[in-house]
Symmetry: C2
Subunit: 242 residues, 2 copies
Amino acid sequence: MTTSCRNCPLRRRALFDPIESDELDFMQRFKSGELSVDADTLLMMEGSNSPQLFTVLSGMGLRYKTLPNGRRQVVNFVFPGDFLGLQAGVMNEMKHSVEATTSMTLCVFNRSELWNLFKNHPGRAYDLVWLASLEEHFLGDALTAVGQRDALERISWSFHRIYIRMTELGLVTGQGCQLPYRQQDLADALGLSLVHTNKTLKKLRDMQVASWNEGRLTVSDLDRLAELAMVDDHHVETRPLI
Amino acid sequence: MTTSCRNCPLRRRALFDPIESDELDFMQRFKSGELSVDADTLLMMEGSNSPQLFTVLSGMGLRYKTLPNGRRQVVNFVFPGDFLGLQAGVMNEMKHSVEATTSMTLCVFNRSELWNLFKNHPGRAYDLVWLASLEEHFLGDALTAVGQRDALERISWSFHRIYIRMTELGLVTGQGCQLPYRQQDLADALGLSLVHTNKTLKKLRDMQVASWNEGRLTVSDLDRLAELAMVDDHHVETRPLI
DNA sequence: TGTTGCTATGTCATAGTTTAATGCGTGATT
DNA sequence: AATCACGCATTAAACTATGACATAGCAACA
């Protein structure tokens, strides 16, 4: 039994822009089904095409690139509301892989319907550009983090970013949220070694700012975390949900 | 006297996708003028809005972000054919600054016309998503370079990337091309210190692979450069020109 | 009870940073 | 035309944040 777009639990969140009723009907027709996958499933592979586009309904994942020498760059963590496969949608080739970290449920759209979207639903096309721009913005920030911040700042930055996003999704309970990744994933996202990531996490824990144990991130001092992360822009922006 | 879209010197390059005649007419109407700026002009500022969108006709520039502590991340080098201001176009705010490094000429489009583009020219809207995806792809690659490669590999990667792009633009003469940036710009792009960038450039020069002097990049061994950069994908992709 | 995957921690090595000093060309000032 | 100031490239030396290697603990699982 699939979720109808009209009752989409994500869309209730203030994080996502409201949408007009007739557009919602279109989204419903655009949606070709729902997919549930187990943890560790490879959803899309770098270099290959993808006949489908997804919106994440629940669960978490990873986007990453692999280098010829075997090193891996985690490009992004994937959360509910994220749209997957746009690159393949327009360029016919994924430039990174996407993997499920937990079990996930995904809204499935047919790539062949994409042109119809552009032709008859300019508002949705606009939203796609918006989403792509958001991604561009995020990657610019990530590049800045890896290029200009030291280890403690980088980890603080990523925790802050994740915590804010999880808050917007209503997934924060108490002072924390689930964060089901391995330390190696975070290390690969931030361009740090596993060992140094571990040591820096300990430092952050000892400083009583944030701790990450058994798949749960706990933030005890958000202001201090933001300060360490050198983020001053706490501005929450809404985003489209496709 | 402005260049007409029909005679656009860029569009002749095989790098850019061909476009249909009536769409070209629309582009001509969409274009509100042409702008020439001196070197070191700030074109867009991080955090502010921009009423205009640009396509670079000639000249080179930089996109960058600044951190509260004063450090700077160069997010991208700007070359002819690049489209500027899409972020502000959809999100009402630039997330990075754009600066002219040399004098530049720019095609100017009116942001207020953007909605018309989406509504009546789905092909152009599709191109915008394409361009945004290209940018996302580039930033993912850059993140991978900064996160996973050492100094020599990073510089090789950036030189390779630049050299290929300049080749596609027809701006390579002999074995080299103009590259009018400072070492500090490259350092800020790659997350390296100026001093180490300088030392690594010397190394690359001593290895007889590539040298960068007086604003000119010379590549004497492209294969070796690609090898050092760990790029195997020499595949040249065409892109839309807006 | 061994194996596997992940976290944790100590020690040592090193790639890269910081600071500082030098030189060189260019444009401004007298 | 001489001098100065400034921006940029270059190089050397001292320092340090981070990486590499090694080892151990612990939980899940066959």
